[in-house]
């Protein structure tokens, strides 16, 4: 079971509430207000806000006319939803079987040491988030990491350091980093 305790964090939506409501309304409208589309709606909202704030979930429930408990049950069940704000940079380490037999666990530990956070955490200043993923289906590149949407294959400690340099230096994430896979 995807264990994620929804911590009620202070709202971090950069937008004022009225504008956020506008976004929620637009997204819900895009799916015709269908209750069955709740997963797709939450995905789109997460793309907009980078995470799902409690207020976002409340607005979604109201717009869809479903109990808040239902929206929460879906948001906490599926792993791709983040109920906490993510950092500006997103580092994902693949933990698929192919990556595992080629030393993926050591790469994750290296990332944890370099970034000073554990998998699933965000740095205190929300500079970066470290996540693990079960398999990205690019097993030929094992062990694999994705930093700001770019895939980096056949990782080792030295390559990790290079990849992490801009993250640790606080550089801006590259253009179009949400589009993947980037070349």
């Amino acid at each position: 079971m995807a264990r994620k305790t929804p911590r009620v964090a202070p709202s971090d939506t950069a937008l004022p509430a009225a504008e956020a409501r506008g976004v929620v309304r637009r997204v819900v409208g895009k799916y015709g207000g269908h209750k069955r589309a709740v997963i797709q709606i939450l995905q789109d909202l997460q793309e907009e806000f980078r995470w799902l704030a409690p207020e976002t979930l409340e607005m979604t429930a109201r717009e869809l006319g479903v109990p808040l408990a239902h929206v929460f049950s879906v948001a906490t069940f599926y792993k791709s939803f983040s109920l906490e704000p993510r950092g500006r940079h997103l580092c994902t380490v693949c933990m698929g079987t192919a990556c595992h037999v080629r030393g993926g666990a050591a790469i994750l530990e290296h990332f944890e040491r370099k970034l000073g956070i554990r998998a699933g955490e965000t740095s205190s200043g929300r500079e970066y988030t470290l996540e693990r993923v079960n398999c990205l289906g690019a097993c030929a590149l094992a062990p694999l990491v994705v930093v700001d949407g770019r895939y980096h294959g056949q990782m080792n400690e030295a390559k990790s350091n290079t990849v992490l340099k801009p993250v640790l230096a606080g550089d801006e994430p590259p253009e179009g980093s949400d589009e993947e896979p980037g070349g």
Binding site: A98, H110, C139, Y151
Partner: protein
């Protein structure tokens, strides 16, 4: 279509793209224009070629020359030599591990030579974002045949006669599933494509969706006609953004061409498809859980029967098949059941795609006839184990599958033989392991995976996986007892018998199969407190051999916890109390020195 003298096919699967395929294509486009060749040569971005290990890959047609690991910098020379002077460039060709001579032709490379392509027939040769290219290779011909000259019963009879079985894992006969659904009187009926490829180590469905989305659409429209459905869904994993984007493009094209939507091909048949993105839950690959997910619920599996064919999506009759199964349908309709069933074994017909990954030379996707021996896949196509290491086992079937040892390498690959051996076909992930892979650690890896992914509905699965993982963790830490093995076996049985869905019923397989074939490794961990593969951290020690150390400071500088003491040209020493066993020193010590040793057992503990 414009006639050109050569096609440059740049693989644009996820693997090649992440090694720079788009930059390569851009460089090729530019160079072609710079040389004024734009009217004679066409650069095409194709779907996944399969030989992902060698990306970025370029194939030059019509010569069928295979170039590997190209960068943008190689382009000017390559274009000048091959396309202007007609001299293929040997240094970018594939050199087999056993030989020295490059192999220019793709079809001569061992990796491709032994494959038999049905589902992947268009891989690396068409642009997946252009319906015309799919059509040029007989695409949608089967749809035309099915819609204009076949009754629904005849379509189902053809699929049944072909002996097609579900490629998602369980291997249920596809024709039978369709037949059950057709017979139901309730309406509307739905069809679903299961593209929630969650098995770690398997990526054939991603590849098919990315490389040949129209084959899936065509298969689904034929299926819809057969069972009488007007609406279908393609459920794609959230982790596959490229697959989602290619499929959306393909759906749009199919609608524009009258191959989808209302009055398909003017036959009066209406059917449309919608993409639903998954949201990262392994259990949603289970058919009833996937249906719940499309309905906008949590992905909890439910009791079967009733099967989805009777009561599925919104309680209506539903056929749900996996990506690879749907992609097989057009070929069967077009070429006939007899042709398809001519391939394979008595019970398993046609081909199966495997993703060959892990400790293997030629990593990638392979499509082979059913019944091929494991040995032929791993050594014939895969080229064996790299680095002079020994083959130990191959894990087949993901978290529901098992590990097959060396002794069974002659096993013919089909549904029944794999299940008998304690593994299963699963979606077709094949993870090759060598002597540096610890089998107890692998069992722990899978149990940790399923512990996390169990939806929590059935207590035997929810609690049992956790208990098994804890016992395995104890064993890998060197604190296991012989009684733990009995407990593991008892728990495995309870979870198998007491779980509702296919996930729970199969999760103990990785434990059971490793206990069956690699019991001695468990015993080594428990009795001798050693890890023969030198993987389990609690049981290994890193030491520096004073005879070999040249005092180069390399390990010292790379140690993340400053546990190594030493000076330039003086022997370095690891402080065992501070060492976190990350292996950084072992990895950086130059191959010709090899002063850092990884040892297990009492010898390590004494030092």
């Amino acid at each position: 279509m414009k006639q050109v003298r050569a096609h440059l096919l740049v693989c644009s699967g996820t693997g090649c793209v992440s090694c720079g395929a788009f930059a390569l294509k851009e460089a090729l486009d530019k160079e072609i224009v710079r040389r004024g060749l734009q009217d004679e040569i066409l650069v095409v971005a194709t779907g996944c070629n399969g030989f992902c290990e060698r990306g970025p890959i370029l194939i030059v047609h019509p010569d069928n020359i295979f170039y590997q690991r190209l960068t943008a910098a190689d382009v000017p020379h390559l274009v000048e030599e091959h396309l202007l002077k007609g001299r293929p460039v040997a240094k970018h060709m594939y050199i087999p591990p056993t030989g020295k001579e490059p192999v220019p032709c793709m079809s001569d490379i061992d990796f491709f030579k032994h494959q038999r392509l049905i589902v992947l027939r268009n891989r690396g040769r068409i642009d997946p974002e252009k319906a015309e290219e799919y059509i040029a290779y007989d695409g949608y011909a089967a749809l035309g045949k099915a819609l204009t000259s076949m009754a629904p019963e005849a379509i189902i009879a053809e699929i049944s006669a072909a002996g097609l079985r579900g490629r998602g894992g369980a291997g249920f006969p596809t024709g039978k599933k369709w037949e059950f659904c057709r017979r139901e009187t309730a309406s509307p009926k739905y069809i679903i494509c299961n593209g929630d490829e969650g098995d770690p180590g398997a990526f054939m469905d991603r590849s098919v969706l990315e490389a040949d989305p129209h084959a899936v659409i065509e298969g689904m429209v034929i299926g819809a006609k057969a069972i009488g459905a007007a609406k279908g869904f393609i459920y794609i994993r959230d982790e596959y953004p490229l697959a989602v984007s290619r499929m959306s493009i393909a759906l749009g094209q199919a609608r524009d061409l009258g191959l989808l939507g209302e009055n398909i091909l003017g036959t009066g048949f209406d059917f449309d498809l919608e993409i639903v993105r998954g949201a990262g839950a392994f259990v949603s690959g289970e058919e009833t859980a996937l249906i719940a997910s499309i309905e906008g619920q949590r992905a909890f599996p439910r009791q079967r029967p009733p099967y989805p064919a009777q009561r599925g999506l919104w309680g209506k009759p539903t056929v749900i098949n996996n990506v690879e199964t749907w992609a097989n349908v057009p070929s069967i309709i077009q070429r006939g059941a007899a042709w398809f069933s001519g391939l394979g074994t008595a019970t398993s017909k046609g081909t199966k795609i495997f993703s060959l990954v892990g400790k293997i030379r030629n990593t990638g996707l392979v499509e082979v006839p059913m019944g091929i021996r494991l040995h032929d896949i791993i050594f014939g196509i895969g080229g064996g184990i790299p680095g002079g290491r020994e083959f130990k086992a191959v894990q087949i079937g993901g978290p529901s599958g098992g590990c097959i040892p060396k002794e069974l390498l002659d096993l013919p690959v089909d549904y029944e033989s794999l299940t008998q051996a304690g593994a299963m076909m699963g979606s077709g992930g094949m993870i090759v392991m060598d002597e540096d892979t610890c089998m107890v650690d692998i069992a722990l890896y899978f149990l940790r995976f399923t512990e996390e992914e169990s939806c929590g509905k059935c207590s035997p699965c929810r609690i049992g996986t956790r208990q098994m993982a804890e016992i395995l963790a104890r064993i890998t830490a060197g604190r296991g007892t012989l009684e733990d093995l009995t407990k593991l076996e008892a728990l495995a049985l309870t979870v198998k018998q007491g779980s509702l869905c296919g996930l729970g019923q199969t999760v103990p397989n990785p434990v059971l199969s490793t206990l069956r074939y690699f019991r001695d490794e468990y015993l080594a961990h428990i009795v001798d407190r050693t890890c023969p593969a030198r993987v389990c951290k609690n049981l290994i020690t890193y030491v520096i051999d004073p005879e070999k150390c040249v005092g180069c400071l390399l390990c010292l500088k790379n140690c993340p916890v400053d546990a190594i003491a030493g000076e330039n040209k003086k022997v370095h020493v690891i402080d065992q109390a501070a060492c976190i066993k990350c292996g950084a020193c072992f990895n950086v010590c130059p191959a010709k020195i090899q002063a850092v040793l990884k040892i297990t057992g009492d010898k390590g503990r004494e030092s």
